[in-house]
Amino acid sequence: MRRSGIIDWGRLSLLAPAFLLLLLAFALPLLAIVPEAFGGSAVERFLRIFGSPVYRTVIWTTVRISLEATTITLIVSFPLAWLLSRASGVKGLLLGLLVLVPFLTSVLVRTFAWLAILGQRGLVNGTLLSLGVISEPLPLLFSEPAVVLALVHSSIPMMVFALVTVLRRIDGRILLAAHTLGASPLRAWLGIVVPIAIRGIQSGVTIIFLFTMASFIAPAFLGNQRQQMLGQVIQSEIETGADWAFAAALGITLAVTATIVVMAFSTVARYFSRWQRPGSLPPTLPQQQARNVDKALLRQPVALPTSRLQIPAIWHFGARLVEPAYLCVVSVFILIPLVVLIPVSFSAADVLIFPPPGYSMRWFKAILGSPEWIAAALTSLRIGAATCVATLVLATLTVLGFGRHFRFQGALEAIVLSPLTVPSVVFALGAYLTFAHIGLVDTEIGIIIAHTVLIFPVVYLVASATYSSIDPWLSLAAASLGASPSRIFRTVIFPLLLPGLAIGALLAMLLSFDESVASIFLSDLSVKTLPRKLWEGIRFNTSPESAAVSVMLLGVTCVVVIIGMAVVLGRRKNALLSLQGAPEPVC
């Protein structure tokens, strides 16, 4: 009765809007890059890219910086993700916030903060000088380490999200078992935890690699001419508008290069991993499973613990210090770019100096008195509100459309989540090329459409997690008591879905408000969003004015996070977990 053919059609019609949007505003723009890139004198165009040492250097730089940033991010994030996956209560909440708050802060703001940290008169040099460690400020900015550092910082949240979902499924007793069998901690980690978590590592590394490959804000602000990356060249090619076909060809180059590296990486990962799919082992016979297990590990002679040589007390003491020390360093690293902007924004000086020579409200006054900043904020608010409504409608319809079971749900969900897996610069490029033809560039509607595409998957994930946590028996019970389907939706499903939708709405609003890439590509003259204005402001003048705007954006983020937490904690504790798991793209 519940699964009749007619209802399936109804559900399809519920799914239609989302898939129509993805087709028209996501797939089509991406596909539009191809004819643009290969139209006309395509050979000449690609020869210009691959034949010129300039672009070969850019490609190599892009891959090199992305690999460096991805590797460091993995190493830094893995312990954090492990601790987060084991933590509960207040500690879990704090660790979750530590990851969540930077994730929800604009990339532009986080990158800008590094100018105030690494500059000649920034936090690091200022501190070292006043401590007398150095006599001359160190040249930290406009170097590869600066770019990598900023990329690592913005990648950590995404990497942690990707890892935590897998790590949470690992039974902690497995380490105990390894210990009893005589494995050293290092061996237990490398031999057991890492192979089991390889899926999470793989998806995390893929996401981060794609993200860093496409980055253009960090190299533009923090690098010099030797750290030019592909995304940056594409952006400036679009900004100067020189040659769309060439920009499209660069976009193809970026996508292909990224794909090759990701494929190479997954081949390597497959080679190294002993258990490919720890979470989703097919229900086979135990004997078959046993055959898949690498028994070589078991047959190896038990290594005698070498730690006998050390005094156990010191060993234990040291081991106990490792975790807090690590947490301390990581928290400082994650939080400093957010915190440093606060004193800078109250600076009385004309430039970014740390510590500020004096404090004043002048920059906040300047912003609030500037019609341009106010207009930009209002534009962003309007776009955010529209994006929020659009994504909520689509996410609700899609969740209801999928229902509890749907044929090909896995494949269809992958399509729904696909905007998360495409480098944002490539999507923004495609959107620019398509929208330009139909007059949507530099219009609010154009940016709203792009934001809806980019943010809808995140809202869908939150809504879907909430929906699947609703007990199906409740609807059944209501139905057996005589409630009509519409009444069930009104009185049972919708109220239970509401917290998820509220969180989704907040996220959508915030992500749209902070979104930089599509905004920078798609806005120009008449529509200036806040991130676009900030981007121009930082490029033309690194005054504390930009810091003050950043602090305001940060304030909005914090307010939203607090409201979100109030909603979550007020309703159910579990919802927070679904929120933390939200930005986990499927790869």
């Binding site: 519920l14 850019v58 001419q225 529209a386 409504v389 939706f489 121009e536």
Partner: protein, 345 residues
């Protein structure tokens, strides 16, 4: 079916809400006269805003939208795509020459634009030269209290972070002048020699995208030396940077007002240019930022002390060269490729 209808009801309601948000702002307004002016951002544009944009808006009631990103490539792309949103563009002489060559501009209407004080060679069919600016060697006084010669800029023994433009124009001229080439013999540029000169200090170079970026670099103390437009460094000094600059090995150039072909507000554009080239406005720009006015009547309105900061001041002019936009017009493609390849490695 009821369930279905309900979903549709809900979605219709939400869509209605969405469309209200969409179209809330798009109510058509009766637009007054409007003109879009494109320049380079930063302190130069701030000065233009004060001297031209705001005063023009005040005088005529027209809406002046200032935007950034002026450049030959963008002008070309806009005209070729047919999607022209800019009216008036401020163009360097090489960009201006290219735009003229590619027929991207509209002939100026000299029945509207009246500026007899501007020399005839700066009032061409497609453009009015409205200021002269210099690219100058500037240094941090903290680091180099006794100043610095162009030769020292290229001396690897002098340790400093040096900012030069990412583009080859002015940049190559600077190296050749510093290496002893006489201004009169500068063109055709000896590119090999210029690159060799840069080779001495390549690892100490930070190449910057636009002049506005360098001003930020100077104010932040990120670099110790820079080759930068004289107005920008002057503005940085005014804003408190302990810097100085000299005219030795400077390269001066003219900035032009042009109107894009197919400009949406062409008639207003002519009126704006006419307003901006009048002596009073030109003098006001120079008061804001020391770029030299082309209108001789404007010079009379200025404090004589200001004139010493201008590229046209004889003592300044004889130390430097004038950019040859014709040479760049013919050689830009190949030189630009060589320079970019060189500086990125």
């Amino acid at each position: 079916m009821t369930k279905n209808r309900l979903y549709m009801g809900v979605s219709a309601a939400l869509l209605a809400a969405a469309s209200i948000t969409f179209f809330a702002k798009s109510a058509p307004a009766a637009d007054p006269a409007e003109v879009v002016v494109t320049s380079y951002g930063g302190s130069f544009q701030d000065a233009q805003k004060k001297a031209f944009f705001d005063t023009y808006a005040k005088a005529t009631g027209a809406k002046v939208t200032g935007t950034t990103g002026s450049g030959y490539a963008k002008v070309k792309a806009m005209v070729e795509s047919g999607n022209v949103t800019w009216d008036v563009v401020s163009a360097e002489s090489s960009a201006h020459a290219n735009e003229v060559k590619d027929e991207l501009l509209q002939p100026l209407d000299y029945s509207v634009i009246k500026a007899d004080g501007i020399p005839a060679e700066l009032r061409t069919k497609y453009g009015v030269g409205y200021i002269k600016f210099g690219m100058n060697l500037a240094w941090s006084k903290d680091k180099f209290p006794s100043g610095l010669t162009p030769a020292q800029f290229f001396d690897p023994a002098v340790k400093a972070r040096r900012a030069v433009p990412l583009e080859p124009e002015y940049t190559l001229e600077f190296a050749l002048l510093a290496d002893g080439v006489k201004p009169a013999e500068l063109y055709p540029l000896d590119v090999d020699r210029a690159l060799k000169v840069y080779g001495r200090i390549k690892d100490q170079i930070v190449a910057y995208k636009g002049a506005a970026d360098t001003q930020a670099l100077i104010q932040q103390g990120e670099v110790d030396l820079a080759y930068i437009p004289n107005g920008r460094v002057n503005d940085a000094i005014k804003a408190g940077a302990k810097w100085a600059y000299g005219w030795d090995a400077s390269v001066s150039d003219t900035e032009w007002w042009v109107v894009m072909k197919g400009a949406p507000h062409a008639a207003e554009a002519m009126k704006f240019i006419n307003f901006a080239v009048q002596p009073e406005q030109q003098a006001e720009l120079t008061r804001q930022i020391p770029y030299g006015p082309t209108n001789v009547d404007a010079l009379k309105l200025l404090d004589p002390a200001v004139a010493k900061d201008l590229p046209s001041y004889p003592d300044n002019a004889k130390l430097g060269a004038v950019l040859d936009s014709k040479w760049w017009n013919e050689n830009r493609e190949s030189v630009k490729t060589r320079w970019s390849t060189y500086i990125m490695q």
